[in-house]
């Protein structure tokens, strides 16, 4: 990992089109401004990982052979929650 030291208001440039600026420091929190092209997605790491893991879990649980049948059951149960199966 490349490690750089920056002061408040200073910027790091990544490639030709991405700029990261340290905007504010408050205790342990830093506010960071990022300029990047529209097709570059920017996410908080923990949120990104959470979505990724949920997608993988969704594909894995759907892979089960019985899922097709389950979808009918699930929908019927949701439409008629009072009915006993």
């Amino acid at each position: 990992m490349l490690i750089l030291t920056r002061k408040l208001g200073e910027t790091i440039r990544i490639g030709n089109e991405i700029k990261v600026t340290i905007l504010e420091a408050r205790g342990k929190q830093l506010r960071i401004g990022i300029d990047a092209p529209a097709d570059v997605t920017i996410h908080r790491e923990e949120v990104y990982q959470m979505i990724r893991e949920q997608n993988i879990l969704a594909v894995e649980t759907a892979r089960d052979n019985s899922t097709g049948k389950s979808l009918s059951n699930i929908w019927n149960r949701l439409k008629n929650p009072e009915e006993e199966v």
Partner: protein, 162 residues
């Protein structure tokens, strides 16, 4: 065209109904083309099937079925990327995680698949709003109207598979 899938075997799909997902689904970034498959008429759970990898398929549901007042904020950059010119062309899907108990099935409201149904372009957008959960219990919405739940699927679906 024909594609081969683990679940449905070889199926014929209409090439104009192939959805291009920009950047791929998170965790499956290498796969860019999907089709929406309806397994059962009048059932709002659909399959978002990868064209390139037959073993990858998500169960999805129209997000508005899960949450009627769902109004995710799509940025101008994303709208431009998906070439969205009218909000009416947009269809939102949530990825569903199946559980053995139907009442514990969840839908991901934090990262909807935003589809431009006119251009067949899509993106899984991670919303900034933390109030939309990744695991939203779908039973929370008590009003399930069958017609409403299924209406958007027919617009962009490629095939009905049984």
């Amino acid at each position: 065209m024909r594609i081969s899938t683990t679940r449905f075997g070889d199926i014929g799909i209409d090439e104009s109904r192939v959805i291009w997902i920009k950047g791929g689904m998170l965790g499956f970034e290498h796969l860019g083309r999907y089709v929406l498959l309806i397994q059962e008429e009048k059932n709002p759970f659909w399959w978002f099937q990868s064209v390139e990898d037959g073993s990858v398929a998500f169960v999805v549901i129209n997000s508005l079925v899960v949450k009627q007042d769902y109004e995710p904020l799509i940025s101008d950059d994303e709208a431009r990327l998906l070439e969205i010119s009218s909000p009416e062309d947009v269809v939102l899907f949530s990825v569903v995680t199946i559980r053995s108990d139907p009442f514990k099935v969840t839908a991901n409201l934090r990262a909807p698949i935003v589809v431009n149904s006119k251009k067949m372009l899509a993106k899984q957008v991670i919303l900034v709003d933390p109030n939309y959960p990744v695991q939203h219990p779908i039973t929370e919405n008590k009003v399930f109207s069958e017609e409403k739940a299924c209406e958007k699927g027919e617009i962009i679906s490629s095939a009905l598979v049984m």
